[in-house]
């Protein structure tokens, strides 16, 4: 059995660790490339949302590289994702590929169910070994995220952006290849240290919240690397979704770390008072949260026609007005043009920079004056 799975940003690092720990032979799909997109678009329903198309590209490339088993997540609505695996399997079968698909249906936040599903994947593993695999994967996931968060912090601040990108990418590669916990630990620290040693400029750094649909946020190829692009324009980007939070909230029922999920949901009201599938309500909640934390702006991203994000976008105008935070929405599909995307981003950042400059240069004197007047 040669197992593969869909890509989602750096998630392949912990997923690979997990499957290997279950003594499975793993063939990850090649990194998402132009060819992946072309294959995906060619064989997917025309109006499906982008993640499905990228999944399809991943699966085809992985099967051609020798994989015979696909592990995919499922779900029970209300959004399209719950039906992805079915549609994908049918299309691949129609293309006459020979493979098996294992669908992990949402385990309803029950750790024991997840453990059972995970264990049943491995052929001859004990519960203890499965548990060890999960723990190691979780450890890797956290290491990856530590790098990501530091990278998000340093990219806008360092002088040499190419250099810090290289350090980050190398760090990820090393973590991916590490087989021992100790190695992961060491590689992480080496990488962090290198990032910290990079010379920084002292120009102002904007803070931008990145909210939206989970896949688009986690898989940079599907958002045309907007986070890196903004980082290079000296904007520090904080995401609404990190993989570990998602795993913690949705698969482990908030069991491992204290979660802000409930608080964020509260922030969404009164703008959006109901769950709308996907991460629509989180998008609204985090936008409010970023506004209250004095971020300079929020960028919402998602695949074109993404239903929960359209609902969220419909109320973001009100949020922006009432909470006083500039928001911009960007949707992506296979036809999006890079130039258009980057022009819009630059204009947005430019506007925020001017705004923050005006505030900082006038607010102090006016404030001082006011004091004297009073």
């Amino acid at each position: 059995m040669k197992v593969t799975f869909p890509h989602m940003g750096n998630a392949h690092i912990p997923i690979k660790a997990l499957l290997k720990g279950l003594k499975l032979e793993v063939i990850p799909p090649p990194p998402v490339s132009k060819k992946t997109m072309e294959l995906g678009v060619k064989y997917s329903p025309e109006f499906a949302c982008l993640p499905l198309k990228v999944n399809m590209g991943n699966f085809i490339e992985a099967i051609e590289a020798g994989a015979d088993t696909i592990v995919m997540a499922g779900g029970w609505g209300p959004c399209r994702f719950g039906y992805y695996a079915q549609v994908e399997r049918d299309i691949l079968k129609n293309l006459n590929y020979d493979f098996r698909m294992v669908i992990l249906e949402a385990p309803d936040s029950r750790l024991s169910d997840l453990l059972k599903q995970v264990k049943s994947l491995g052929e001859n593993v004990s519960l203890w070994e499965a548990w060890k695999a999960i723990k190691f994967a979780w450890y890797k996931l956290n290491a990856v995220e530590k790098l990501e968060r530091h990278f998000e912090y340093y990219l806008p601040r360092v002088v040499d952006k190419d250099k810090v990108e290289k350090i980050f990418d190398d760090g990820l590669k090393n973590i991916d290849q590490a087989d021992e916990r100790k190695e992961v630990h060491d590689f992480t620290n080496i990488c962090l240290k290198k990032m910290q040693e990079q010379p920084c400029h002292n120009q102002p750094v904007l803070r931008i919240g990145l909210v939206g649909e989970i896949y688009t946020i986690l898989e940079p190829v599907t958002n045309y690397h907007v986070a890196r692009y903004m980082g290079r324009l000296n904007a520090e980007v904080t995401r609404s979704i990190y993989m570990s939070d998602w795993v913690n909230d949705h698969l482990l029922g908030g069991w491992i770390k204290k979660s802000r999920h409930a608080e964020i949901i509260n922030c969404a009201s009164p703008y959006l008072n109901y769950w709308v599938g996907g991460h629509g309500r989180e998008t609204v909640g985090y936008t409010v949260d970023f506004a209250r934390k004095q971020y300079d702006g929020v960028v919402q991203i998602g695949p074109l026609t993404c239903m929960p994000e359209i609902v969220a976008q419909s109320v973001l105008g009100k949020v922006s007005e009432r909470e006083g935070i500039p928001c911009m929405t960007m949707y992506f599909d296979e036809h999006s043009g890079e130039t258009g995307i980057y022009t819009r981003l630059e204009a947005f950042i430019d506007m925020l920079q001017r705004k923050s400059y005006l505030q900082s240069s006038f607010s102090t004197p006016i404030g001082v004056d006011n004091k004297f007047v009073l």
Partner: protein, 329 residues
């Protein structure tokens, strides 16, 4: 008398008799917006975000129209699920919030949440809450609700005779509706009721087909048991109520000897349609199948051409005696 507005859009086409009876029995004066038209759409386009699908845009237009009618309430339900373990669409779950964010001159909303995916307990509570806006008499509310459900069932019975839901509602209101004319081709027509039966959104699809000499078969006229049985043959249960009905109807029609072809009306940018359309296209093996995708820019000319070509093809095929062979060999 309190005035309650009901938008003539979305689930109006499935539940208007229920809602109207309920509010009337509680002594309210029910006002519905006019049938969708150019103005409704233009206003909807102005109010809704660009990426929204056509039916939701049209809905915004209807609510805007109602805002000018001096109402005490507008009824904008949050339809989460109308049967166990199924949903309508994420957008339906956010409609009241989307409306609130887009319109400033709104009268108070009655935004009852309809969610029976797990149980109908909260729905019952919500009905009592809404009823208490009009009366203190709990029994009157319960009676009104029971009566309302009866009226809705009656209207559905009318639709089983081959009328569209829009026609069935007119009949239910006591208006005159012509008998669906009969023709020489039998065509199954599928789509979400709020696009298919809204003459403006669907550009009169059903009426046009009838004029071209077709007997139109709609999902509401089929036996529910047969639809569900066919829908259950695909590996994973479709968790969208309308989607499951479409898949079941298509498979059922695919097997029926008397049906010549199937047309599916989809909305551009619709999430469920993007996958359901694919599934149906894949599974319909014995009949000619045509998918029509519409948006606010679709023109009538293109529609007519495609419908005529489809009907011609079916007639030619019948003359050659090919019967019900698949469209492409």
């Amino acid at each position: 008398m309190k005035r309650v507005g009901i938008p003539h859009s979305l689930f109006y086409y499935y539940y208007y008799p229920l809602w109207k009876t309920f509010f009337s029995d509680l002594g309210a004066n029910v006002i519905s917006s006019s049938e969708s038209n150019r103005l409704t759409l233009d206003q909807g386009i102005k109010l809704a975000v660009d990426e929204t699908c056509l039916p939701i845009k049209v809905y915004f237009g209807h609510v805007q129209e109602l805002c000018q009618q001096h109402l005490d309430y507008i009824f904008i339900p949050r339809l989460v699920s109308v049967e166990p373990k199924s949903y309508i669409c994420p957008k339906f779950m956010g409609v009241p919030d989307m409306i609130r964010a887009a319109l400033d001159n709104l009268p108070p909303l009655i935004d009852i949440t309809i969610d029976v995916s797990k149980s109908d307990r909260s729905l019952k509570r919500d009905i009592m809450r809404v009823g208490s806006l009009f009366t203190n008499d709990d029994n009157q509310i319960k009676r009104a609700y029971t009566h309302a459900c009866q009226e809705n069932r009656f209207c559905r019975l009318l639709a089983r005779e081959g009328y569209t839901m829009a026609e069935a509602i007119s009949l239910w209101e006591g208006e005159q509706v012509n008998n669906p004319a009969s023709g020489d081709l039998n065509i199954g027509v599928l789509g979400h009721g709020y696009s298919l039966y809204d003459p403006y959104i669907s550009m009169n699809l059903v009426e046009r087909l009838r004029k071209m000499g077709c007997n139109v078969f709609l999902p509401e006229a089929l036996d529910i048991g047969c639809i569900e049985r066919e829908a259950a043959t695909i590996p994973k249960r479709v968790f969208w109520t309308l989607g499951r009905k479409m898949v079941g109807s298509a498979l059922y029609m695919d097997k029926r000897a008397d049906i010549d072809g199937i047309i599916y009306l989809a909305c551009f940018g619709c999430g469920p349609d993007s996958l359901i359309g694919e599934i149906i296209e894949n599974k319909v093996k014995n009949k000619s199948f045509m998918m029509l995708t519409i948006d606010e820019h679709s023109g009538e000319g293109g529609l007519v051409t495609r419908l005529e070509a489809f009907c011609d093809m079916l007639r030619r095929r019948r003359m050659r005696g090919e019967g019900n062979l698949p469209a492409y060999g």
